[in-house]
Amino acid sequence: MLQLNVTDEGSGSFRVGLLGELDYVTAPLLEEQIAALEPRRPRAVVVDLGSLTFLDSSGLRALLAAQRAAGKGGYDLVVQDPLPQARRVFSLTGAKKFLNIQGDETDPGPAAERAAT
């Protein structure tokens, strides 16, 4: 099961929140959603994985396809807040090199650094 929540955050920015599992069955839903944003000429798309509980290589393929679509469309795509299971897939497959991942525990970012001090 996968639920997608799309939020128009203004100025061409969209957030696509994924809730559930991204696998062979649900990956086409993400690809369709990214394609549906194209006519709105996005400037930035955040794919929020903070509630994604499972990712496999079919799901990863959809994220990489979204990254390619962003490159062709000339907009930024950020993969945000992956949970440990998704981070493990990115790490094992080497996909970290091809995705703009934010909120990864290996790169906690300034907010986490501030919280730790």
């Binding site: 099961m1 599992e21 696998d23 062979y24 069955v25 990956a27 499972f54 496999d56 290589s57 079919s58 990863l60 393929r61 990489l64 440990p84 299971q85 493990r88 897939v89 094992l92 497959t93």
Partner: protein, 138 residues
């Protein structure tokens, strides 16, 4: 005597037989995950690894073994006594690569990274068996 973390009375082995349809994969992941978690043999992150290996193996079976929508069955066997052994069997045509694969063609390579050992063998007259073994955590 082997190590056993499973509470007394819990079954050490279970077999799931399902029609070879994509919508079965999520439920099998959940059920296998619950069964292995109950064994107490693997840490939560290694249970996640096993579920990922299962997902990749089942997707391989559906995409390669049963491409074209042939009738068939998926059989998942898991034993959890001294270690966790998971076998995924299909009766499809095998894992010949084909260009319209929806994955990254890395399913088997990924499975090999997720367990302590991996064994892939053809079944007769048709099909593939993938066996993944995970030794107890820590």
């Amino acid at each position: 005597m082997g190590r056993t973390a499973r509470s007394s009375g819990a079954e050490p082995r279970r077999v799931w037989r399902r029609p070879a349809r994509a919508e079965q994969v999520s439920d099998l992941r959940r059920q296998v995950g619950e069964f292995v978690t109950a064994s107490g043999l693997l840490s939560p992150s290694r249970v996640d690894d096993l579920k990922l290996a299962l997902s990749e193996a089942l997707t391989n079976a559906l995409v390669h073994g049963y491409r074209g929508g042939g009738e068939g069955e998926l059989v998942v066997s898991v034993s959890a006594e001294d270690r966790v052994e998971m076998t995924i069997e299909d009766a499809g045509v095998g894992m010949t690569p084909h260009p319209d694969s929806p994955g990254l063609r890395m399913g088997l390579a990924l499975i090999a990274m997720l367990g302590d050992s991996l064994d892939v063998r053809p079944l007769h007259p048709s099909g593939t068996a993938i066996r993944v073994v995970s030794d107890p955590s820590g």
